[in-house]
């Protein structure tokens, strides 16, 4: 049952990372209710930030000092410090990227969290199984559409899946070359419909699944695959592409640019499905944009 609360003031309390200082940071403010970035822009002087040494961790006295700095006294300052301590415990134990109570309302002589937020670090989920088991997963989207395609891509392990308005399906095996591919397609007058980035450590299976994801978008008129492998092996990538095409022959043209580790083997394997891979990225982009018209 929710009480009707008369808050006399709303505060902010949170823990996150400072990517510039390369450490966790505790954030306190006498202004609550808006998100922290907006707060930083509108009331920079009302924000207190305390960098935290990851080995020494956050100490109760730091919370009390921060409470005093945002103007709290007496019992409220003790309560605020307790909130900060709890946030730190959650942050550290559950590998949070951000944990905050916002707004944290002053109601009489009590502090009450009216809302809270917890963002977990994706790369730490392997050690958060207890927490994850207690979280009810989002129900899968019921209707066919961009949301269901996105959630399927996630299930298949595709790190980046993004849909736009165009008709070119773009696939890359690196974040930097993926962004470059998008920029070049747009510069050449093409329009991206769906974009997948597979990460630098990719398998034939993920390549095959990525083909499936891109072709599940009906407006995909042409697929442009830009592969330049270091960790990624081109023989594996070629196997993924040909495995998909053997199982699901398609009329959608597949333009492949291939370069790097095990390139000869990769080209030979693609040849078995009649695909001649480009070595030159710009020619591949021009070809794909031409085919999309």
């Amino acid at each position: 049952m929710e009480e009707k609360l008369q808050a006399s003031k709303e505060l902010y309390a949170g823990m996150t990372y400072d990517f510039n200082l390369k450490c966790p940071v505790a954030i306190a403010s006498s202004h609550g209710g808006v998100d922290i970035e907006t707060l930083a822009k509108e009331h920079p002087r009302d924000i207190v930030r305390k960098p935290i040494d990851p080995f020494r961790s956050f100490k109760p006295y730091m919370g009390r000092a921060m409470a005093a700095e945002i103007g709290l006294q007496g019992i409220l300052s003790i309560q605020y410090a307790n909130v900060m301590n709890s946030l730190w415990r959650i942050f550290e134990q559950h590998d949070a990227e951000l944990v905050e109570t916002n707004p944290l309302a002053i109601v009489g002589d009590r502090l009450i969290a009216l809302d809270a937020k917890l963002n977990l670090d994706d790369k730490s989920l392997f050690r958060q199984s207890t927490l994850l088991n207690n979280i009810e997963p989002m129900p899968p989207p019921r209707s066919e559409g961009v949301e269901s395609r996105r959630s399927r891509a996630k299930e298949m392990g595709i790190p980046t899946y993004m849909e736009m308005e165009g008709n070119i399906g773009a696939i890359a095996d690196g974040a930097g070359t993926g962004m470059l591919t998008l920029d070049l397609v747009v510069d050449s007058g093409g329009k991206i419909g769906v974009y997948c980035e597979m990460g630098g450590e990719t398998t034939a299976e993920l390549m095959e699944n990525t083909m499936k994801a891109v072709l599940s978008v009906e407006r995909t008129h042409v697929i442009l695959i830009n592969l330049i492998g270091g960790l990624n092996r081109m023989d594996e990538m070629a196997r993924g592409i040909t495995n998909y095409l053997k199982k699901h022959p398609t009329k959608v043209p597949v333009v492949v640019r291939m370069s790097g580790t095990m390139e000869e083997d990769g080209r030979r394997i693609l040849g078995t499905e009649g695909i001649q891979a480009y070595g030159n990225l710009y020619e591949a982009v021009e070809r794909a944009v031409h085919l999309s018209r």
């Binding site: 990372y17 990517f19 510039n20 390369k22 450490c23 966790p24 970035e37 040494d53 990851p54 080995f55 550290e92 590998d95 990227e97 670090d121 994706d122 790369k123 730490s124 392997f126 050690r127 790190p159 980046t160 993004m162 736009m164 890359a172 095996d173 690196g174 974040a175 930097g176 070359t177 993926g178 962004m179 470059l180 998008l182 920029d183 070049l184 747009v186 510069d187 980035e197 990460g199 630098g200 450590e201 330049i228 492998g229 270091g230 960790l231 370069s259 790097g260 580790t261 390139e263 990225l281 710009y282």
Partner: protein, 293 residues
């Protein structure tokens, strides 16, 4: 040409952490083929084997005692990667290249905190490593795309550095050292660290800076270039056409609330006197405007 490139040279002794894994063993073989002096490998519990002729030890300290490496490259999986890197820092290595992509944020912070106390450089995490063409490779670069020469290169994305090196190599423009910084959002070694070394390196006549959206590392680099860097810089920022709020494959590649946009980075670099390309293929001519190569 001097024997010593920045960070690594022909004689640099390298230890591979995680040498017995699928990726570690494959990439060790490729590094040895290139001429890198891999003197030891480490996988706890698997000491006594050899991989590609390299002795495997149970602990890094044992490997250091018997083979005296100065530099480590780490392929250890995410849950144990930071621990391995901290062992390397503790053993007194001067450079640790963390190739592992999924290192938990909190672990990354701890690893970087210890590294800064010991003055060890951490490259990464999520990095392709570095290569000084013709001399040594401590990374996963497809080395045929690289050529020895006078251009230094720094990139967050490994794949984008392969792409750009390929373009330069095809035009006969070689590279002194090519450094991958990693996907972020927190980096050990930065553009700034690399520029400082290139400033002092007599084999480097010009620098290619490959950046991407998100964070403010490129802006910090621009500030240093403007104030102190005396060699010509040609830059490329990818992600010009990426939609705001979308993580583009790297954890650090995201435009949030108008911050970290390609436009801002391009403006800062141009203001600092760098020539900014729109694609790798424009880079050779921009370099030729500034240096005789």
């Amino acid at each position: 040409m001097s024997e010593l490139a920045i960070l690594i040279d022909r004689g640099t002794k390298v230890v591979v952490q995680g040498i017995t894994g699928k990726i570690g063993s494959f990439q060790t073989e490729l590094m040895i083929q290139y001429g890198t002096k891999v003197v030891a490998g480490v996988t706890p519990g698997k000491g006594g084997q050899t991989i590609s002729g390299v002795p495997v030890f149970d602990s890094l300290h044992k490997a250091v005692g018997e083979t005296a490496p100065e530099v480590s490259i780490c392929f250890v999986p995410g849950p144990h990667a930071a621990d391995a890197a901290m062992e390397a820092i503790d053993a007194g290595l001067r450079l640790v290249v963390v190739v592992t992509e999924a290192v938990p944020l909190f672990d990354t912070i701890k690893m970087l905190t210890i590294a800064s106390e010991k003055e060890t450089f951490i490259l990464g995490p999520d990095t392709a490593g570095l290569i000084s063409p013709g001399r040594s490779k401590v990374g996963v670069h497809p080395h045929r795309l690289f050529l020895e020469g006078p251009v230094g290169m720094i990139s967050r994305s490994g794949a984008l550095s392969y792409e750009t090196a390929k373009t330069l190599t095809e035009q006969g423009i070689g590279q002194s050292t090519v450094i991958g910084l990693g996907g972020g959002p927190i980096w050990g070694f930065t553009y700034l660290d690399a520029l400082r070394l290139f400033q002092e390196d007599e084999d480097t006549d010009a620098v290619v800076l490959l950046g991407e959206i998100g964070g403010s590392m490129e802006e910090e680099a621009a500030d240093y270039i403007k104030k102190e860097f005396s060699k010509p810089v040609v830059a490329l920022i990818v992600g010009r056409t990426a939609p705001p709020g979308q993580k583009m494959g790297h954890a650090g590649a995201i435009v949030q609330r108008g911050k970290g946009s390609a436009q801002d980075k391009i403006a800062a670099l141009e203001e600092a006197g760098a020539l900014v390309a729109r694609a790798p293929r424009e880079i050779p001519n921009l370099l030729r405007k500034k240096v005789r190569i």
